[in-house]
Amino acid sequence: MAVSAGVMIARPAAPATLSADAWQRFRRNRLALAGLVVVALLVVAAVGAPWLAPADPAKQSLIEKRARPGNKFLLGADEFGRDILSRVLFGSRVALLVGLLSVAIALGLGLVLGCLAGFAGGWIDVLIMRGVEVLLAFPYLLLAIAVVSALGPGVLNTTIAVGIWGTPTVTRVVRGAVLAARESEYVSAARALGASAGEVLRRHVLRNILPTVVVYSTLFMANAILVEAALSFLGLGVQPPTPSWGLMVSSGRDFLLVAPHIATIPGLAIMLAVLGFNLLGDGLRDALDPRLRGQV
């Protein structure tokens, strides 16, 4: 009798209606839908770049260098006569790849550290959270710059730097969510009914912080794309000839007067991608957990 009641309490049997509910809210939000469309287009561009691109992104044509946008080059040609549209399409691969992998790094480290701090408490919590405070004491971008300047440039090191930059915030968010869940009545109930710590963690805590993590990861994607672009713009991130949007803006800097399209068009791509993830993240937050408004 007690056991069957326990099963009922421990397994809230409504995940399907919860997500259906969230989708209802999401669907009514026009900005969120716009974000979803932009992100979907970005994924299509990244996956389909070889088929969508009208030209080889590396093919140079010195007679046509700095060609204005027109018939042959829809978005113009860069300082080596390479087709900018094709390079922007291939650039979406770098942006998404660095973004996704750095989110994975930040989430992986942040989830482990945050759960550890929130669950273990005591000196482990103090140690982890002091470390987080120290990393957060580095102003935006500077931690990533310091890491990448030591490791050296390149796609992999940029990804690591952006991932490390994101870790302290994820750790903090996860720890907060774990603490809140730990204090909640449903977790006390599960514990009282004899659930093991691992079970509580998996079934109650992780499942409850899932919306927060999803929302945070989406918004982090936007920032990761910005930081990768910034590092590459400074010459510290992705190196030529790999087409990265930040790098393309940087190489167009010398031709602002004669050919402003070289620097400005890749920047538009960055803005659109970041805007898409920001809108999607805001929409997911409002749909999944309106209480998070103002927190993330």
Partner: protein
């Protein structure tokens, strides 16, 4: 209040020690021999020996850390490799430019952001509100370095109203400061809107309105003053955003500040100078957040009492 201040100051010490540790570790991450990488192939043996001695790479980590903390506390950040000058002097030459830029940007972001946020909150869902919210979404999504280049193309090349770069007259400050301010302005506007909206729903605001207080005073005295704490917190955090953004803005506008010095140091593999610049940025950020923390105590006596 005094114990509150003392407590906050003491809490900042471990953070500062941690920051110094992380900055020291960056040299550790360099693959290969950091000294020969920094000095190049043609360095004299004396120079190599001197740098090795300064960095103390043959000593255990903890010994080196204690030594480094001691030197930093005495204001000795080593000598830059390119200019062969004390790093402290190079930083002292560059920081006023960065302070001027970030302070101007912070003022722009706070003034226009708070104004836009309050107007949005007082007339929610109006045309202004819709425009401000859309604008702040774009402001948050534009990469700073790109905004700077677009402003240069429009306001310095097509319409020759502003200088392209460099520092000197007040006109030189306009484009870089606006560029740097935009993302923070957007954040401040968003945050002000939501906090003022929250406060306007409070019971005491209804009471004030019911007893006939003018709407202007309700907003100025009740709403804005109570929304001050989240806005202030955000401004403190935005100071960090501005320092990071300054690295990009200074690069775009050839602004002779710490950010540009730092980027130059990276390309010259001058890690001693780089460490000094990163350290200064982080110290400034810690001090600003400490000041914000102390300001809470002044704004809200409850916080000071809780310690």
């Amino acid at each position: 209040m005094l114990t509150f201040i003392a407590r906050r100051l003491l809490l900042a010490i471990p953070v500062l020690l941690g920051v110094v540790f992380v900055v020291m570790l960056t040299i550790e991450l360099i693959p290969g021999d950091a000294v020969s990488l920094m000095l190049g192939e043609h360095a004299t043996p004396e120079a190599v020996a001197k740098l090795r001695d300064y960095l103390g790479l043959d000593k255990p980590l903890l010994v080196r850390y204690v030594g480094y903390v001691g030197r930093v506390a005495r204001g000795d950040l080593g000598r830059s490799i390119q200019q062969n000058r004390p790093v402290v002097d190079e930083l002292a030459d560059a920081w006023p430019a960065t302070l001027e830029l970030t302070a101007a940007a912070l003022v722009i972001a706070a003034a226009f952001g708070i104004a836009a946020g309050v107007i949005s909150a007082v007339w929610p869902n109006s045309a202004f509100d819709a425009l401000a919210r859309l604008g702040s979404l774009f402001g948050l999504s534009m990469p700073v370095f790109w905004t700077g280049l677009v402003l240069i193309v429009v306001f310095a090349l097509w319409l020759p109203w502003m200088p392209v770069g460099g520092m000197g007259s007040p006109a030189h400050l306009v484009l870089p400061a606006v560029t740097l301010a935009l993302p923070s302005l957007a954040m401040v506007a968003r945050m002000t809107r939501s906090s003022v909206l929250d406060v306007l729903r409070e019971d005491y605001v209804r009471t004030a309105r019911a007893k006939g207080v003018a709407e202007r005073l309700v907003v100025a005295k009740h709403a804005l003053r109570n929304a001050a704490i989240p806005i202030l917190t955000l401004l403190g955090l935005q100071a960090g955003q501005l320092m990071g953004g300054a690295v990009l803005t200074e690069t775009v506008f050839a602004w002779p500040g710490l950010g540009r010095l730092m980027v130059k140091a990276i390309f010259a593999r001058d890690y001693v100078l780089l460490q000094g610049a990163v350290l200064i940025f982080a110290l400034a950020f810690v001090v600003i957040n400490l000041a914000v923390d102390l300001a809470y105590g002044a704004l809200d006596p409850r916080i000071a009492r809780q310690g």
